[in-house]
């Protein structure tokens, strides 16, 4: 049975996770300022993949990045030392939070595909009774957004 209160809790969980990144918890008590929203949204987001730059071509990107189409520009550069290859991407126009989330998830999935050949799947997994409490639904909201959130 739909329960609007519990759905609100789940939505709140997703929002809280987003705020957590904004709070810069690791930076509590540090000196640096926060980016203004426009600059934050337009930053290049990057993953480093342990492979040779020759294995990643901008015209032949992993499917999760291709799916974002021409909305994003992508840059592939060798990483220093033995670290592999940097894949960086950003939206051409200022993206919404939702779009940014899709980009983070796409970068992470692309890295997994290049390094391990598959994207990790989690469901279905064994679990007992999921009690429908507000705290429980809050965590459901956090988890549902955890792929798309983060400092990436």
């Amino acid at each position: 049975m739909p329960n609007p209160l519990l759905d609100r809790a789940a939505d709140l969980g997703g929002t809280l996770l987003n705020r957590l990144q904004g709070l810069k918890l690791p930076g509590v008590g540090t000196a640096s300022v926060s980016d203004d929203p426009e600059r934050a949204a337009r930053r290049w987001r990057a993953v480093t993949v342990l492979c040779s730059p020759a294995d990643v071509r901008v015209d032949d990107l992993p499917a999760p990045l291709v799916a974002l189409g021409s909305l994003v520009e992508v840059r592939v550069t060798p990483a220093p030392g033995d670290k592999g290859t940097e894949i960086a991407a950003r939206y051409r126009a200022t993206p919404s939070d939702e779009e940014l989330g899709r980009l983070r998830a796409a970068l992470r999935a692309s890295k997994q595909l290049l390094e391990t050949g598959e994207v990790l799947r989690m469901d279905p997994r064994p679990h007992g009774e999921r009690k429908q409490t507000p705290q429980g639904r809050l965590l459901d909201g956090v988890v549902a957004n955890a792929k798309k959130e983060g400092v990436l």
Binding site: E118, M122, G128, R130, V142, K147
Partner: protein, 389 residues
């Protein structure tokens, strides 16, 4: 199948849950033969790691028999008796290639949570909350093991299930602390905490050549085990000033390497203990770093302090000045299982490392809630409760 689930703060139950399935080509499914309580579970149970969902299957230290293999698995086959690393590692990212397996980039499907908390996410861990992946745990009849070629190890015939079990997490954690803490032949090592992890850190320190090993705790039966099985000298912090005792017994120097195996719920007598507990309950600090503080003060100049005990976020009143001025190295890590499990199994096969005495309470899975009660309250001499699904 039957599985042990977390149902709320300090509440466990045994439920019927669906069996796990192969979801990725590198997975195997294991029929669990032994699975044990770990001190880390206590931090989950008590709600200090608030990323548990009612119904989550817990347990991350285990061994068993392979019953199904994914199509990309090369090294394991049905029927293999294996012990499995608690953290999940892909084997192919830069961190895995550097043997920093618990820092794997690809094994935590929920990176947003720990990136928010710590600035970077770490690898996933079986049965240890949604912050590290939300994998179903091993306190069950069957468990899914991802990237099985990397994280599972065939147990030699001469090593019993009861012994091999602890290579999964406690012994490999201990080895992580000894190795990355930099214990060298001739060193003096002090270990805080005489649980499974601390006792094995003491024993492995001796194996790699430490000349003198101390173990600090308050529980007499655990200190007795540390003397008998690790050959350690022991100190009861409730009756002795630990730093003074260590100075006296080390020619005034202090230990070269201090290994902390207590974690964020450290016990402390007196006003300081109350202070930490109240601050933690008010969420003004998330962790109680009692034993780490003591280790930092006791450590010799230029020595190293390694935190194996699990901490979640923020601590208060931390002696940073001692670290800087005494030239200490402070380091910590989650367990890099695959780096040490092969060596541990060799040591176990040669009887140089024995672990059976840790399994003070062996019981069927259906009695797990009672097992956790004994383990949490340290009742009846419980060091570890081991379940046989």
């Amino acid at each position: 199948m039957k599985a042990v689930t977390w149902t709320g703060i300090n509440q466990l139950s045994v439920e019927d849950v669906p069996e796990p399935q192969i979801l990725n080509d590198h997975d195997v499914i294991l029929k669990v033969r032994r699975t044990t309580t770990c001190g880390s579970d206590l931090h989950l149970l008590s709600g200090y790691i608030p990323f548990m969902r009612a119904g989550d299957v817990i347990g991350h230290e285990f061994m068993g028999e392979v019953v199904e293999v994914g199509k990309a698995v090369r090294e394991r086959k049905v029927g293999d008796r294996v012990v499995v690393a608690s953290f999940v590692s892909c084997g192919n990212c830069w961190y895995c290639r550097q043997e920093m397996y618990s820092l794997c980039d690809n094994s935590n499907p929920n990176p947003g949570i720990t990136e928010g908390l710590w600035g970077q996410s770490i690898g996933g861990c079986i049965g240890y909350s949604h912050a590290v992946g939300g994998y179903a745990g091993s306190h069950a009849e069957y468990v899914r093991v991802p990237y099985a070629d990397v994280g599972s190890f065939v147990v030699p015939d001469g090593v019993s299930d009861d012994r091999a079990l602890f290579a999964s997490d406690a012994a490999s954690t201990a080895f992580t602390g000894v190795d990355l803490g930099g214990v060298r032949p001739g060193d003096t090592v002090a270990v805080w905490g005489a649980g499974g992890v601390g006792q094995l850190a003491a024993r492995i320190s001796a194996i790699v050549g430490a000349a003198q090993v101390f173990v600090v705790d308050r529980l007499p039966e655990r200190l007795e085990q540390a003397r008998t099985h690790a050959g350690a000298e022991t100190i009861d912090y409730t009756t002795t000033d630990v730093a003074a005792e260590l100075r006296e017994r080390t020619g005034g120097r202090g230990p070269d390497v201090c290994i902390e195996a207590v974690g964020m719920e450290a016990h402390a007598p007196g006003a300081h203990g109350v202070y930490d507990q109240v601050k933690q309950q008010l969420r003004l600090q998330t962790d109680r770093p009692t034993a780490v503080r003591e280790a930092v003060m006791a450590c010799r100049k230029g020595g190293s302090v390694f935190t194996l005990g699990v901490f979640a976020s923020m601590v208060d009143k931390f002696p940073l000045g001692a670290i800087m001025n005494k030239g200490l190295t402070l380091r910590g890590a989650q367990v890099h299982g695959p780096r040490y499990i092969p060596r541990l199994l060799e040591l176990m096969e040669r009887d140089e490392l024995v672990t059976e005495h840790l399994a003070t309470h062996v019981m069927p899975l259906s009695e797990a809630p009672r097992g956790y009660e004994l383990f949490k309250e340290k009742q009846d001499g419980c060091v570890r409760a081991v379940f046989t699904p």
